[in-house]
Amino acid sequence: MKRSLSALLALAVMLASVAPAAAETTLEKIARTGTLTIGTRTGSPPFAYVNKQNEWVGFSIDLVDQLVLSAVSTKVGKPVKLEKKESTPATRIPLLSSGAVDLIAGTMTDTRPRRDSADFSLTFFVTGAQFMVKKGSPIRGIQDIAGKRVGAQQGSTNARIIRERVPSAQLREFPDQPSAFQALAQGQVDTYTNDGIQLAGLRTKAPNPGEWDIVGDFYSYEPYGMAMRKGDSDFRAAVNNGLMEGIDSGKFFEIYEKWFGPRGELPYPMTPDIKKFMIYQSVPK
């Protein structure tokens, strides 16, 4: 009896992870439950994190809350509430495909291989990889890292580009930001590379921000998008409509200003080029 029960349970888990609600689209699910469930981060300020007041906030969360949610509500024809679940780079795709979350809103770069497994929204943030070094380091960019020990975040697109473009660099990949930064501070690595925005965040939180330089031109293009289950184009259209409405009305730029403006959580001004790119992403009504 016990055996057949556990076998049944195993089967249920397998089915749940492979073919969730095979007959139901995401919009139907949202209409049924009245809830849009997003997978987001708890420690990626200012995109998504838990603040000092113990509230779960951030730029990515605001975009969903203020722009996407209303578009989805309109589409399903009734008010929808937002629910947040933690998702990490390792769990976000499984969470999506199992149906545990409907949308990943964090710091996920939209890439072509990832598009094989998930669909992406419009790009909502643009950054690129740079290097963080101790003040006075001879490293000024990707041209200087041959033979050097370079720290990177494990599985990041940056690591792959370094491996391809500068194979002689000694790459060390760390699973999280704190251990990578520790390795840089102690000299295990000569420089640490990550998306410019992440480095800026890291420097702000460092004990002595003045000790660190962020150097080099962007050597990669990292467009952040929201990911959702593949092949659900009605839902994706609703998410994109929400973002486009926000870009058209200027609300999107207000939210950007709130988090990345001069008085925001992490000052990271939007360049005119990127502003233009955001505006061009919105197709005509």
Partner: protein
């Protein structure tokens, strides 16, 4: 919506190289750590049975110190804690020659050595003194008594829990990814992040660990059979082909 399986990501492009390299690193770090753990385990396990108090105390200190702190902490200790204590040129040399691998190996070996030690002590101490006296009375020298009587009996008791510990050691080698050792788990996660094929990458990792562990268990079972008391451990009645 249905999840689209694509098993070919595992042997397409870079993934195959990553898997092979990860497997190799896992085997390397585990084998070296296992040898170190065995040496430390035998030494401290034996020391705990000798009548000299300071030596016993030393062995007890080693065992209690190392088995009671999480392995992850030891990894960080050897990687982040120890190098700053070394002179600058030594540090530089280490960082350029795979410091993370050696730190991971030491952490694994020293941690599991403490656990091996208890297994070995239990084996040796379970042999009654009379067994040794009986061996001596038949005219065997001390060395012969150990080689022919004591060790074979002790091994019967040591091998099964040692198998357990060896499997744990192999599985725990995955913790080395936190200090950037590119072992098997690291590489399966690498495949997952680059291809977003989580189920495929995780399945590959699971199967490889399973095969490695079953292989080790089978090898240890052979050792176990070799030292078995005839009739006490069931042997297969006929060869299985």
């Amino acid at each position: 919506m249905q999840y689209q399986f694509d098993w070919s990501v595992l042997w397409r492009g870079q993934s195959r190289d990553w898997l092979l390299q990860g497997l190799l690193t896992t085997l390397e770090i585990s084998a070296l750590a296992w040898l170190l753990a065995l040496a430390l385990g035998v030494l401290s396990g034996a020391l705990r049975t000798v009548p000299l108090r300071p030596l016993r105390a030393l062995a007890i200190f080693y065992v209690e110190f190392f088995r009671n702190v999480p392995l992850l902490v030891w990894m960080f200790f050897w990687y982040f804690g120890v190098p700053p204590l070394l002179p600058r040129p030594v540090q530089e040399w280490l960082f350029n020659h795979g410091a993370e691998f050696w730190a991971g190996m030491l952490a694994l070996g020293v941690y599991h050595g403490a656990r091996f030690s208890e297994v070995i002590r239990a084996g040796i101490q379970s042999i009654p003194k009379t067994q040794f006296e009986a061996a001596a009375s038949t005219g065997l020298t001390v060395a012969q008594a150990y080689r022919l009587i004591i060790i074979p009996i002790a091994l019967r008791l040591i091998v099964p829990p040692l198998t357990n510990e060896s499997l744990n050691l192999l599985k725990n080698s995955s913790i080395a990814l936190t200090i950037s050792v590119a072992e098997l788990t690291f590489q399966t996660r690498q495949i997952e992040t680059y291809t977003a094929k989580a189920i495929e990458a995780l399945t590959a990792g699971t199967l490889i660990y399973l095969i490695l562990c079953l292989g080790i268990a089978a090898a240890m079972a052979r050792v176990e059979r070799r030292f078995a008391i005839p009739g006490l451990i069931a042997r297969p009645t006929r060869a299985e082909h």
